[in-house]
């Protein structure tokens, strides 16, 4: 199961980079999001999986595709010129970040805990998410609320010509 979803995620992401057509690339990204949602399911966290689909594939990607469709024509745009240096720098950066991410994950306490003893897997549910959010992360929650409100007001102010 893990392998299937991991493959969906990685292949979706790779296909997205390969695609010259922006819309198809966007759909490949949606496929990647589905793979990630599946991985969350394998990790016994259906809430995260559902939210991943609702927020990322359902809202964000739809809006992105929407904008592309409004602006773009059907033609695929050829690259103006090949940029080999940037390509290699990109690959190098990916390698460096990947190595660091791997080190952080491998050295994390949670992984050690998983390896230590066979913990009884307890599925996540909304009630637990809510309790955790309001008991231990209340300040962060409120700040994010404020931030989102500010972003929303900003968006309205930008689009309205006369206020």
């Amino acid at each position: 199961m893990f392998l299937i979803f991991a493959l969906i995620t990685i292949l979706g992401a790779l296909a997205m980079f390969q695609q010259k057509n922006v819309i198809v690339a966007g759909l490949c990204l949606v496929l990647t999001f589905f793979g990630v949602a599946g991985l969350f399911l394998v990790l016994a966290n259906p809430v995260a999986a559902a939210l991943q689909i609702i927020v990322y594939s359902g809202a964000i990607m739809v809006l992105v595709l929407f904008t592309i469709m409004l602006l773009n024509s059907h033609e695929e745009e050829p690259a103006i010129k090949a940029r080999p240096i940037q390509r290699w720098v990109g690959a190098l950066l990916i390698a460096i970040f990947g190595a660091f991410a791997f080190r952080i994950v491998a050295g994390s306490k949670a992984l050690a805990a998983v390896n230590d003893k066979a913990l009884p897997v307890e599925g996540m549910n909304l009630n637990r998410v809510g309790e955790e959010l309001f008991a231990n992360h209340l300040l962060g929650f409120e700040i994010i609320g404020l931030l989102l409100l500010a972003a929303m007001v900003g968006a309205v102010a930008l689009t309205k010509k006369e206020l």
Partner: protein
Amino acid sequence: METLAHLTGMSVVTIWTLLKVLLVFGFIMAVAPPYTWVERRGSAMMQDRIGPNRALLFGKWQILGLGHALADGIKFFFKEDIVPPHATKRLFWLAPLLAFVPALMGFAIIPFGRSFVYQGSMYHLSLLDPGNGMGMLYPLAIGAVAVYGILVAAWSSNNKWSILGGMRSSAQMVSYEIGLSLAVIAVFMKVGGYDPADIIKDQMAVGWFVWRQPLGFLVFFTCMFAESNRLPFDFAEGEAEIVAGFHTEFGSMKFGLLGLAEYAHMITASGLITTLYFGGWSVPFMPDAPVLLTILAFMVKLLFFMWVFVWVRWTLPRFRYDQLMFLGWKVMLPLSMANLIFNAWLMSRGG
């Protein structure tokens, strides 16, 4: 069941799941064609005309024109499958599937009868067992994904009308989703859980949510019409403006699938309305009704709401697009927000 499990070498659980999959999907596929017939005959009834009655079964029996549903299906299969030369080929093939699969999947979470114990093991009458942790988030997620079918269909046709229609209806689905989610959250709050089984249990104990949150029901009901692209909100198409919207270029079984997807959406929407606001499979005044009776109760409620979809279609006039957006953002969203805050206030006072 045990003998079947023994014969096929599968576990009882697997067979039960397979059986449920067949039952639910078979039900939707079997109900959709007669549903088109109900739609056509219903519209005829309301407009004081006879409606389709020409197709004869085996050239003999008229049976109120029921043969038309069958004839439509046969016709879809035998029509030439045309792919317009300017279309994006692969996406054009993919689009009907993208529209149809989410429409079918949404029904999986809805319990259609009481869970029962048979020979010491528990059987649940819903595809996804209660306590799976997804609960009612699942139909919301699937509903969010349903937009892709329309977007891809519109874009891959490479036709201005298609894109306009697809844009309209996806914008409408995205905007009404917010009001819908807020209305559902008020139900979650009251129940203290988000599993359909919990929601139904709570309604059996206290009362249906239509009576407890009439405002929430109104918002949810309206948003469901917008979500399934039905009149009075059918902006995907408009003969006079954009031809047939996102399915202009689709013919043959591709069009058939898009049509089936619409009907499957309505069936799922009726199921959700039944589960969230009308007590699901619970039988009024009978706390422990027999299993078959609960299935019957669910079916009656489901079919009633499916009829309501047809009924509303031929009763209300169509909106204009700006009116639709006005209704969605400036009426439905504040209403569901008010419903949420009012219920939170009631609960904070111990209600």
